[in-house]
């Protein structure tokens, strides 16, 4: 029986035999396989961090003189860079014989923190993150961690930075 013109498939169908909708159809099994492979990727990422942490060498800090103790009055601050020039730090004299120093980079988005003398705390002006002067811990705001503390060594009237505690 001869087919009518309208019931026949168009001629271009011979050249373009692939149906896009059928070709791009994703079955549930394929989709779940994709999700599980992504999960494998996440696990591989965690393993990569683990391996990297095993081979990471601990940083070495060179002692750096910060100046003479009498340069600062109680409540005064001094800015310096430690251990490299790209690491701004803040030194605060909190008492006659008490000095503390922290990294000046806020642990939220690295804005520079400053010492608020009246409130006796370190403040980040960007998102109002506050840190304790005593130990650098977070008092308020979005910072996820305390400020890295610069280890100080006092030798007579001289103050020296000897390391950084994260």
């Amino acid at each position: 029986m001869k087919k009518t013109e309208s019931s026949q498939a168009p001629l271009w169908r011979d050249e373009f035999a692939i149906d896009v909708a059928t070709d791009s159809y994703v079955t549930r099994r394929q989709f779940s396989k994709f999700l599980v492979l992504t999960s494998l990727g996440m696990f591989a990422g965690n393993l990569w961090i683990l391996v990297k942490s095993w081979f990471r060498s601990s940083p070495r800090f060179e002692p750096q003189p910060l100046g003479i103790v009498d340069e600062l009055a109680v409540g005064d601050v001094k800015l310096f860079s430690y251990p490299t020039q790209e690491d701004p730090c803040i030194l605060i004299r909190t008492g006659i014989d008490q000095f503390v120093a922290y990294s000046q980079k806020c642990t939220h988005l690295s804005c520079a923190v400053y010492y608020a003398k009246q409130e006796n705390r370190l403040e980040c002006p960007c998102h109002e993150g506050y840190f304790s002067v005593e130990d650098g811990s977070v008092l308020q705001g979005p910072p996820p961690r305390r400020l890295p503390r610069v280890v100080l060594q006092r030798d007579g009237d001289n103050l020296t930075a000897t390391g950084v505690e994260l």
Partner: protein, 75 residues
């Protein structure tokens, strides 16, 4: 197992895999954030938990395959 019950089970398993995957993504970003911040304490527990989540996803995938194969046999 009827066809609709099989489909529901598969959809539920896929939803569970998606939830586990979101948890795993969060875990990876949190671990990376801690690592770059110099904190190494959470790295080993995070890797173990990530392995468990991957194993759970793999188990659910095998479950989906089994249900799917059974549905194919029945139809």
């Amino acid at each position: 197992m009827t066809r609709s019950r099989g489909l529901t089970a598969i959809d539920g398993a896929i939803a569970l895999i998606a939830i586990l995957l979101i948890v795993q993504m969060w875990l990876l970003t949190a671990t990376l954030e801690a690592y770059l911040g110099g904190h190494t304490e959470p790295i080993i527990p995070a890797a173990l938990i990530s392995a468990l989540l991957f194993a759970a996803c793999g188990g659910l995938y095998l479950f989906i395959r089994r249900i799917d194969a059974r549905r194919d046999r029945e139809t």
